[in-house]
């Protein structure tokens, strides 16, 4: 998959757009129809095959950026960002520049941390918030998986409860382009989240100010972010609920796309 190509889905109407934020380029996939939804990816990029995207696109107009500085996210233009809150500010500026209005924000893993930070700084932006196994809060009894001690493929595989599901998306031996894009992703992740590793000590306090209805989802076999972080997020937010998705690791969107999409759709119909 070359730089900036949309993930392969059955829906052929995905486009790629590039706009300028802070005077620099940001690119995103766009597709579907319905109310606007911002989907923020995990720290190892857009999976090359992504059924979850199609499912979301049935109910929403999905904007799915490549995170600035990450692979396909114009890395040369964004190396001056220093932390995840900087990233969240840029995403917020993106949303405003697209005139999306109040929208649903869905964050996957690292993207969930970005989404949570966005919510704390712009509560009025949100119709509702969905956080899927987000980083961002420090676990008490365990640790968030340290990706920097292992190789990028090992980390990507750690996101899957079923290695066959990984192979189906990335191949049993991911090609050099995929390895190279993961390396770019790691460099930016390192820039933003080396230490404290994958959490913001002030985030729980700031989340108390996010009144938007929030659904937190966690795979029952997540080896990357401990399940206790789900409860920590829920307890920090005034209007949040927590649900578990069965037979899923950290990459819930790839392992259980239909179950996840179903929960998101149900939440969006019912939440006020």
């Amino acid at each position: 998959m070359a730089v900036g190509e949309p993930s392969i889905t059955r829906n052929s109407t995905w486009t790629v757009e590039t706009v300028q934020v802070c005077g620099r380029d940001i690119s995103f996939q766009k597709g579907g129809s319905g109310p606007p939804l911002l989907l923020l990816p995990r720290d190892n990029g857009h999976p090359p095959r992504h059924e979850f995207l199609d499912l979301l696109a049935a109910d929403f107009t999905v904007c799915y950026p490549w995170l600035p500085g990450f692979h396909s996210g114009h890395p040369d233009g964004w190396q001056w960002l220093a932390n995840v809150r900087d990233l969240a500010i840029v995403q917020r500026q993106l949303v405003e520049s697209l005139h999306l209005g109040r929208l649903t924000v869905v964050g996957l893993g690292f993207g969930g941390w970005v989404a949570a930070e966005m919510a704390t700084m712009a509560p009025g932006l949100l119709e509702r918030l969905v956080l899927v196994a987000p980083m961002g809060v420090q676990p008490v009894n365990g640790y968030i998986y340290d990706q920097f001690i292992v190789g990028s493929e090992t980390y990507a595989r750690a996101g899957f409860a079923d290695q066959a599901a990984f192979d189906a998306v990335y191949g049993a031996e991911p090609d050099f382009d995929q390895l190279e894009s993961w390396e770019t992703d790691r460099e930016m992740t390192s820039r933003l989240a080396w230490k404290p590793y994958m959490y913001n000590p002030t985030l729980p306090g700031l989340l108390a100010g996010v009144a938007a209805p929030t659904l937190i989802l966690w795979g029952d076999a997540d080896q990357v972010v401990p399940a206790e972080c789900g409860e920590a997020f829920r307890a920090s937010m005034p209007n949040a609920s927590l649900e578990v998705v069965a037979h899923a690791g950290h990459a819930v969107d790839v392992e259980q796309p239909r179950a996840l999409a179903g929960r998101v759709a149900a939440f969006c119909k019912n939440a006020t």
């Binding site: 920097f148 001690i149 292992v150 190789g151 990028s152 493929e153 090992t154 031996e173 991911p174 050099f176 390895l179 190279e180 390396e183 790691r186 460099e187 390192s190 820039r191 080396w194 230490k195």
Partner: protein
């Protein structure tokens, strides 16, 4: 010619045959048993530590008594191959325990210091207590050094350069001054400890041919010391250094180049070879740091090596396997034997490399204290005099003999002669 002695200070009580090693994933579905970083320190017994540290200090004092020009020190962390996790501690001990050797730090890993001002102070104190015998080398620190210090490898080079600049300023510019840099910020820099040597202690830069480091050293006019580099690599380093040096307006000579090599001497070749095998104790890769990710973590490596580093990290390409023992002897990165044999081999090294600085790495693995002292004795009494003669014939002067400038920006050195 500057001839110095080196040891990694191995934890000689660590048994490669019986110690249980942790197994970690290294990509491509493979695993590797590791002897660093995640190898548990439950295998460290401070009773052995106590004995070994004191034996090392006896060895260093003997090196000094025998008239070597220097003792080379280094620093590594979280591994049994090196018992020196703080180079400045040993420098301070040697400042008082030795009388005449240069105390050559190769080197302080600058990026893992959060306070370069404190580093500048410590080094100044070593220089003062030793009566001006410090050579203050600096390094980037290996991947493992950065990981265990929790310093972001992505900023390793930037921190190296900024910390260096701050140390030089703390040494040479009267305080108080302020420093607001990208990685270091100090509202008051005013250390009441400055070096005896003026303009400041010499700085030598060791490495294994990272291009950027060679160029940086050349542009600062700091001698570069190749670590176990074979003739080809040594020549590449030299060519790169010379080009960079000419670019900033000077012609380097032997005083700009140095070489470390493994060197064990004994009365018989058989005994020397038996001990030489101990240098291969870390499963053949002497540091045990050969991990495809830890060796060069994300953001650490040269951009020019990106493709191969990605392949290595994913287990698609093997790490460069260090050559076996006999090949090292052929390549002259490891010389061993009787004094005569070692003299012949080292003369060949000097003939080829034309370096003004030579570091001889005399012990490793489980070589015992008696054999280490014996090696030092034979080096000091028999090998060094022969090498000095030979170096003189070749005109190989070290930076002190050549009175080389301390750096590009500092003119000829003025050394405050100790009383």
């Amino acid at each position: 010619m500057h001839l110095m002695y080196f040891t990694e200070q191995p934890l000689s009580s660590w048994d490669p045959e019986t110690t249980e090693l942790e197994e970690v994933a290294v990509g491509g579905g493979k695993t590797q048993r590791v002897t660093a970083l995640l190898h548990s320190n439950k295998n460290f017994d401070p009773r052995d530590g106590s004995r070994l540290y004191n034996e090392r200090l006896d060895e260093y004092q003997y090196v000094d008594e025998l008239g070597f020009d220097g003792i080379m020190l280094n620093e590594h962390h979280t591994a049994p191959f090196c018992m020196s996790p703080r180079i400045n501690l040993f420098a301070t001990l040697l400042a008082r325990l030795t009388k005449q050797v240069k105390i050559v730090l190769l080197g302080n890993p600058l990026p893992i210091w959060d306070n370069p001002v404190h580093l500048a102070e410590e080094l100044a104190i070593v220089d003062m207590i030793s009566n001006g015998r410090l050579v203050s080398g600096f390094v980037r620190g290996g991947g493992v050094e950065n990981i265990q210090a929790n310093v972001n490898p992505l900023f390793n080079r930037e921190r190296f350069e900024e910390a260096h600049d701050l140390v030089i300023k703390a040494w040479t510019q009267p305080g108080p001054f302020r420093w607001e840099g990208k990685h270091y910020q100090f509202r008051v820099v005013n250390p009441w400890a400055t070096p005896l040597q003026k303009p400041h202690p010499r700085i030598w830069v060791p490495g294994v041919a990272s291009r950027e480091t060679v160029v940086w050293a050349a542009q600062h006019r700091y001698p570069y010391i190749g670590l176990n580099t074979n003739f080809d690599v040594s020549q590449k380093i030299k060519d790169l250094y010379v080009e960079a040096a000419r670019g900033v307006g000077y012609e380097p000579g032997p005083e700009n180049f140095g070489q470390l090599l493994q060197c064990h001497v004994a009365e018989t070749e058989e005994k020397a070879e038996r001990n030489a095998r101990e240098f291969m104790w870390m499963r053949g890769e002497f540091t045990g740091l050969a991990h495809p990710v830890w060796g060069s973590p994300t953001g650490y490596g040269s951009p020019s090596n990106r493709k191969s580093l990605i392949e290595i990290a994913a287990g698609r390409r093997p790490l460069n396997v260090p050559p076996p023992l006999n090949q090292r002897r052929l390549e002259h990165t490891f010389v061993w034997g009787t004094p005569d044999q070692v003299i012949t081999q080292l003369k060949h090294v000097l003939d080829n490399n034309r370096v003004g600085i030579l570091a001889l790495w005399g012990n490793d693995g489980r070589i015992n204290h008696e054999d280490s002292m014996n090696c030092i004795r034979l080096l000091g009494k028999e090998v060094l005099p022969a090498l000095r003669d030979h170096a003189k014939k070749l005109g190989l002067k070290d930076p002190f003999e050549a009175d080389a400038p301390v750096s590009l920006t500092q003119g000829p050195s003025e050394v405050l002669a100790p009383a």
